[in-house]
Symmetry: C2
Subunit: 287 residues, 2 copies
Amino acid sequence: MDERALKEIVREIIGTEQTLDDCAVLSCNDRLLVATTDMLHETTDFPEGMTDWQIGWMSAAVTLSDIAAMGARPALVLLAVGLDRGERIREILLGAKACCDSCGAVLAGGDLDAHQELTIVSSGIGFAVGGKVIRRRGAVPGDLICITGPLGRAQAALDGYSCYERYLFEPVPRVSEGERLASAGTSSMMDISDGLVLSLYDLLDANECGYSIDSALLPLLEKVPPEKSREYALFGGGDFELLFTCPPEHLPVPDLDSYMVGRVIRDHTVLVDGKVAEYRGYLHRWT
Amino acid sequence: MDERALKEIVREIIGTEQTLDDCAVLSCNDRLLVATTDMLHETTDFPEGMTDWQIGWMSAAVTLSDIAAMGARPALVLLAVGLDRGERIREILLGAKACCDSCGAVLAGGDLDAHQELTIVSSGIGFAVGGKVIRRRGAVPGDLICITGPLGRAQAALDGYSCYERYLFEPVPRVSEGERLASAGTSSMMDISDGLVLSLYDLLDANECGYSIDSALLPLLEKVPPEKSREYALFGGGDFELLFTCPPEHLPVPDLDSYMVGRVIRDHTVLVDGKVAEYRGYLHRWT
């Protein structure tokens, strides 16, 4: 059973609307609450060479990034840890707490269990700033496609460019960027994790419009050959930048670095330099 | 590293207060939000003979029961599922959704992953009724110790009393009971999962007082010999009843079946029929 078939079953049972974004959204008096959960396994989600502290950091980061991508402010994170060896828990929790602290969230509890392979599920809650969330749905033709930072650094590290290792091992959730974008008229948003192209296909799934990228606009990585840098940005994994669309008049967003890399188009397709982009990206098999 | 040592590390890092209850508590305007997460593995948490639908039901039930035990009303559940075989997802989600529906909660999303052993983490959010949560801490000497229903039925099913199978395979979270108890002056509460005695030791960990049970007051199970029935109630696993303490004048709670089984005492110990109770209960190894 492939991923698409699985997704169809999930949509049939819990509703398509509920599966389009990384967070569930719930009214909470006059506020909107967002909630999300992410499962990570040692062999598939944590690159070799990561310390336990970094594993903890990363586990919190994926959830905090999902909350940031809704334009919400993280409030708390819970960690369910299936431990292969008890000694690992201290560093894992310290790393997770450091990441939560850096985002203004509380590491508020969780569950401990024994497991053959280290398995961590982090769940988090946040609150929408200014009463609205930014969803994957919402782009309209003519909007610009932007990213909050250079892409491909985590993939570059995986490929041996050790100067980018921190981006791979200690990714920083774009929380303040997400908040600023939510109040700046962003029309749609998500966080990138498996490459720009796969993320655009995810957006395609939630919208009627399409996406056209001009690869010459992608910011290049220092010390990486330009062609490789573009390849990493389009198809590499591990980045935690935000991908968003907004009407041209809303750029630049005050106090925010962002890079315009393309335009939202009428045709329901993903183009890179005018050609339909290969459906390819990072497949969660760290090597 | 034993469980106690692990707990100490967790408490040192995230704070003792945060680890006393099954739920984290967060102020949310004038309301209190509770949040919880539970990790379940096929070999250790799901008794043999369970269908996938029942596995889904149980996965939601553990989280809904944790929310009920705070006297809160469940709002949403997220499910992170590490699947050994894709075909299982439909029945698991249908079971989880049925359990959520029965408790007025929404199955609002989650995460899917591949895993050698079926692993499910359910996380949930609820809101306190009437602005206050009931915690494990709060009992005072003189309070009565009560339960919301007969104990030992799940353990009886595990031991072959098939008339009790539904209690083992489709446990019902005591949501409306929890809400009623929260507004009825209950001084402390938790849900029972590994037997009455282990639960009392958990309460002991959060309180200055102690607990004295009169085993003659335990409701007996039909078709099970009285001695066995009491043994199941004290040390058996799988029950989802609520254990609570309250001042005598607050009993009976309107519209609620409950059984008084002992008294809160001054000495910091757990007694059954006047003797210190063996620290023994269900060890999460279903056979």
